[in-house]
């Protein structure tokens, strides 16, 4: 089949916010995801970065249909995922799976690991516990655990091991796409690399696509073919990994990159940080025009009046009226090229 595996078209997600006004009769709106479009090819990894509250997790849940989109469409193989999910929810879930951020909260403490991993087989193939034992054992060894672990409860495992169980659960239905919601950010740094490498290995073997949400730029660089940067509900820049890490154009992307320390004391001392002023504005009342303008050192009048459109091609696009023209300097990039 041609065309991308996943395509988001102008996706908007709004939540009812806190009550306000006289006797709380009116309600504010939280603009969590604001007009986001992107594509994701089969077997590809799209890394999504941005600080907390920028809407990247919400976007992941909209793709998963755990949350309905307020407006816009998510297409899976060219078909509207909302319609797919409504028509046959289970068939949709066989194609799209998710790994959650918190390995301590995402496994039911009252079920053994074996029961947790047998559930997809029961739900999707009607397999009884006894029939799926071999499949569960296979899943456990795929993610680097041993089949004897099936009888254990989640609280007996370390964070990294639990996250492997979470990955195994997502693999059970052999999906085309896995949404990974900050799968390593809750883990010790020493364990992170192991899990990231496992994810890469699995992708090499099984060819599924990853929608990889993270806030750690080094992890994203390690695993992604393409990278998208989000700020306050909008996607501000998207492109291939090398274009983003070497030639980022959006001031926010540049600021984000300059904040990552370099594992080399000499370079680290030379690192020039771009310090942003102020806090992220509230998603209840985002600034007019470009959302980043209140903290941007390049902002002018046009930034307040007009929302910058996404410009560029499939390899690199950004939404900025005053993009940075110079390539990323050594010391500005998180990992020396």
């Amino acid at each position: 089949m041609s065309g991308p595996l996943l395509e988001a078209r102008n996706v908007v997600k709004e939540f009812p916010g806190p009550r306000q006004g006289f006797l709380g009769m009116s309600r504010a709106t939280v603009h969590a995801v604001n007009d986001v479009s992107f594509t994701l090819d089969r077997g590809e990894t799209l890394g999504v970065v941005g600080e907390s509250g920028c809407g990247k997790s919400t976007l992941g849940r909209v793709i998963m249909r755990l949350l309905p989109a307020t407006a816009g469409q998510v297409l899976l193989d060219g078909q509207d995922s909302a319609a797919l999910e409504r028509a046959d929810s289970r068939a949709f879930r066989r194609r799209v799976q998710m790994v959650f951020q918190d390995p301590y909260a995402s496994l039911n403490p009252r079920m053994t690991v074996g029961e947790i991993l047998a559930e997809p087989f029961l739900v999707h193939q009607g397999m009884k516990r006894s029939a799926s034992t071999a499949r569960v054992a296979e899943l456990l060894s795929i993610v680097g655990l041993s089949p004897e672990h099936a009888s254990r409860y989640p609280h007996e495992f370390s964070g990294g091991q639990r996250q492997r169980v979470g990955i195994a659960r997502a693999l059970a239905v052999e999906p085309d796409l896995i949404v990974l919601d900050e799968p390593v950010s809750a883990l010790d740094v020493s364990i992170q690399a192991g899990v990231v490498n496992l994810l890469r290995k699995l992708q090499g073997e099984r060819g599924m696509a990853y929608f990889f949400i993270a806030h750690d730029l080094s992890v994203v660089r390690h695993i992604s073919e393409r990278v998208a940067v989000m700020y306050l509900g909008r996607m501000v820049e998207i492109g291939t990994r090398d274009r983003i890490y070497r030639e980022a154009r959006h001031p926010y992307t540049r600021a984000l990159m300059s904040a990552v320390p370099i594992p080399d004391p000499t370079l680290e001392r030379q690192r020039q940080r771009i310090i942003l002023e102020g806090d992220v504005p509230s998603p209840i009342d985002p600034p007019s025009g470009c959302h980043f303008r209140t903290r941007c050192w390049r902002a002018t009048e046009i930034c307040a009046n007009e929302v910058p459109p996404m410009t560029g091609d499939a390899k690199h696009a950004f939404a900025c009226h005053h993009p940075v023209e110079t390539p990323v300097q050594l010391g500005e990039s998180p990992v020396p090229a």
């Binding site: 998963m64 755990l66 929810s89 289970r90 949709f92 879930r93 066989r94 799976q97 998710m98 959650f100 951020q101 918190d102 909260a105 995402s106 496994l107 039911n108 403490p109 009252r110 079920m111 559930e119 997809p120 739900v123 999707h124 680097g144 655990l145 041993s146 672990h149 009888s151 254990r152 409860y153 609280h155 007996e156 495992f157 370390s158 990294g160 091991q161 979470g166 659960r169 059970a172 239905v173 020493s190 364990i191 992170q192 690399a193 192991g194 899990v195 990231v196 490498n197 496992l198 080094s218 390690h222």
Partner: protein, 299 residues
Amino acid sequence: MELDVTATEADNLDRSLAEVGPSRSLLSDAWRRFRRNRLAMFGLVLVVFLIVVALIGPSLVQDPLDTGGISKEKPTNQHWMGTDSLGRDVMARVVHGIRLSLFIGLIATVAQTCLGMLVGSVAGWFRGWADTVLMRFVDIMLGIPYLVLALAMVAVMGKGVTAVIITLGLTAWLQTARTVRAGFLQVRELEYVEAARAVGVPTRRIIVRHVLPNVFQPVIVLIAIGIGVAILSEAALSYLGVGVKAPAPSLGLMISESQSSFTTSPHLLFFPGMGIVLTVLGFMLVGDGLRDALDVKDV
């Protein structure tokens, strides 16, 4: 690449942790904590003893309705706890009274727990107007003094064991409903419930397999305490003359009957009183022990 070297090391580090100790379920952990609690173990022994008394006691003692003895006799070799004003054996009546108390407490608590869990689950899962309507009703019920409510219900249904069970069942479910609702509201937002939805688990299975087992701990505590409370309430209702009907051996009824002769025949008050105290104490201690062992905070 630099990252890959550390990655292999990290992989080994993580894998080496794979050798975990012997499997321990959460329940066996709880049992270990419970066993270490002496007061709770005393309560458990008491409860087990009383259950044994209730099960095999009646076949060992005399007929609780036989009026053949001397009136208000002090404890003797033949009547270990003496006789009451009608010459009936007090020990036989206490043993039968404990049996009746346990029976009423158990049935009423099972009933109220089912009702409370049903209402609490519906309110906590569906939220919205169902939650509002059900919980406001619970608030109103909690606002009415318990005895007034019980007296009104007995007035409608008449006296007797069945009426007492229904009354206790219909008045005691409020706390259970609130606790279960609070548990649902909390658990339904947890990531493992979302993960179950992401896997495609149907809603009914999510409620039964993922939510209910995780809100059940406080309910277990409420059941243990609830049996104690129900026994106490039965005694209170019978004492007030709106509970179990006269010839039946109820501990509350026995206390009520002994009142007039309490100064001359204190054994008529002491033995049924001890029966109530030990039964209620046993269940309360077990409930407290369970609360600590299961680490329940909100009951």
